[in-house]
Amino acid sequence: MDLSNLWFVLWGLLWIAYFVTDGFDLGVGILYPFLGRTEAERGAIRAAIGPVWDGNEVWLVIAGAMTFAAFPVLYAALFSSLYAAFFILLGALILRGTALEFRGKGTGRLWGRLWDGAFFTGSGLCAFLFGVAFGNVWRGLPLGPGGYEGSFFSLLNVYGLTTGLLFVVVFAAHGALWLALRLEGEAGGRARRVALRLWIAGSLLVLVFLVNSALYTHLYANYLTSPALMVLPALALASLFLQGTMIVKGLYGRAFAASCLVVALIFATAMAGMYPHLLPSRTAPPWGLTIYNAAAGEYTLRVMAAVALTVLPVVAAYQCWVYRVFSRPIKEEKIREEEGY
């Protein structure tokens, strides 16, 4: 495998790591006002992701920085083309991170309401906008000699919007399962009940996504030439089925594991359809970006591959160990006010 191909795979894996991990805490933020009805329940929900959300978000920073280093042309084109979307996304990320930290540090109804609102809105917007952004990447952007020829509103097409909705619902189901595992008491019960409904909605949206991809994108072209790739969407559907079965059986640990696979495999399905494109142009194909015309020089790719393949396993192992430390469920009364970072 040459370096550009290796980096295509690594790049996809980094985004998968981000969506699998941060996906559930974004989902928790989306469900937060609905599942947490009392002050204590809300505290418990925040504490359920408290120790891990920041570590999860690092995958976004790594994916962003690796894009810069490995595919600088993509980094430049993607973030400047989707300027307004990423501006709102940054604002949402900033708000929800701050909300998680500051919510427990003040007093009064207004304080609580404002930060609760920020946490919910920020989480929902992030999930939705990531869906819209990747939906449009998979669909292709109007790229020409002058760069991006669309606007923020041209991102809000049918495919972009349904992909945004897909991200919101799949992450919400992902988050519900995390809470089902981590929470006791009534809020935990609500999370377990809502998980099944979200799974049904999510499954419908996955089907819509697979059909829409045939209607609006060229993602299936690779599947026609290399049918072996079909294993990815097949596994995605199998995981989805497994997830539903486990929810019905009340085995939430396995359901969460299946949910991780669903998130990973849906993304992998789309990325396999993209290869070797990174950012196709739907108006003037030669102006699209591929792993060849967007990649950094070979020396940088080699150095970066060495860094990624040696350092990432070590820090990821550290992250897994921290997950284990916090694997015991949380009792509401145990949350101290000062814990809330």
């Binding site: 920085a65 980094y75 400047s80 991006y148 020089g297 020396y299 992250q319």
Partner: protein, 437 residues
Amino acid sequence: MDALTLSRIQFAVTAGFHFLFVPLTLGLAVLLAWMECRWVATGERVYLRLTRFWGRLFLINFVLGVVTGLTLEFQFGMNWASFSRFVGDVFGFPLAVEATAAFFLESVSIGLWVFGWDRVSPRIHALAMVVLAFAVNFSALWILLANGWMQNPVGHTVTAGRAELTDLGAFLANPYGWLKFLHTVFAGYIVAAFFVMAVSAWHLLRGSEVDLFQRSFRMAARFGLAASLLVVLVGDFHGSEVGKAQPAKLAAMESLWETGRGVPFYLIVIPDEGKEANALELFGIPKMVSFLAYKDFDAAVRGLRDFRREDRPPVTLSFLGFRSMVGLGFVFVLLTALAVWFSRRGAFKAPPLLLKAIVYALPLPYLACQLGWMVAEVGRQPWIVYGLMRTADAVSPGLTAREAALSLGGFTVLYGILALVGVYLLRKYAQAGPAEV
């Protein structure tokens, strides 16, 4: 205003705001690691209470540093696409290493530290803070190697309109980056030292928790004095490096117009950019600029007139920023030396006047950090990568003034609110004092 100007203002606002929180994180993490290790080593409860108290303030500050850092990570691509395309090969590399090796460590450790009091042993818990302190400083190294490359590009070739990394060793050994790193982290330690001294002094003036706050005051004073001396020392080396790598910046920092040998240092200077001369020069110390810049009293120093107008940085901003920063540096040495002297072990008798002065001096190290970045970045103009790419050529070609104005307005409002809330919370918890544990 055009998209370029708006993008420059936005970068100044977002980077400057980010750097209100970073210096305290850099230094306070080290102090916290020190406190918690002493708690583990001695078992004296006062160190646990200190760790808890300063730890809470650390967290309020930390999260603001983290979330505002996200903007910087993506802003290069959003507003500076031409820059990103040109330098990504070289510049993206340290950012990626920072995210992978340093930021990852710090974000995982912080969760463990905040929520892990009852879940891991005290030793492991203290170790988490040691790892965190290492990680935040390691993070600074990579960011400043990236900035160091923009200041003094090394280890690359330019082919087909793009800079490509060719020599990793040269990039990693860039003296400009290392001096910047040391200068910046020591400046961060000064901010943290003044933060801890000022809050401690506030409580000492009220006579609350005297034993506890005398301890944190003493620790911070020693830490601050060491950092203040180091920042001056490194600053001197750094100045010489600027003279070698960016002579135009050096000339602007000194407001020196005419090239000459044995150039004197004037204590009071008023630059006049229109006339390309100084309106006033008073109290000269002979040959001092030559000596400071090149360690040779008779060295030749190039003046601004030696550079084409379009290659000169804004003089007044660079000059005033530099002068004020250096002046403040000596104030920090003086104040921390007094603080160390009056807080000696067994003889803590800091006069109320000194304590008050330290409370009111709290904004000064923050100001010095902002001024330092102003000198570094404004002084590098008109270049975004020194000698390779002009700032004017770096902006995203498709970016419209309207988009840039909206995002600038949005960030300014959002950051303004965050600043108010952050200051409110820091004040509240600083004044509340330590809890019983």
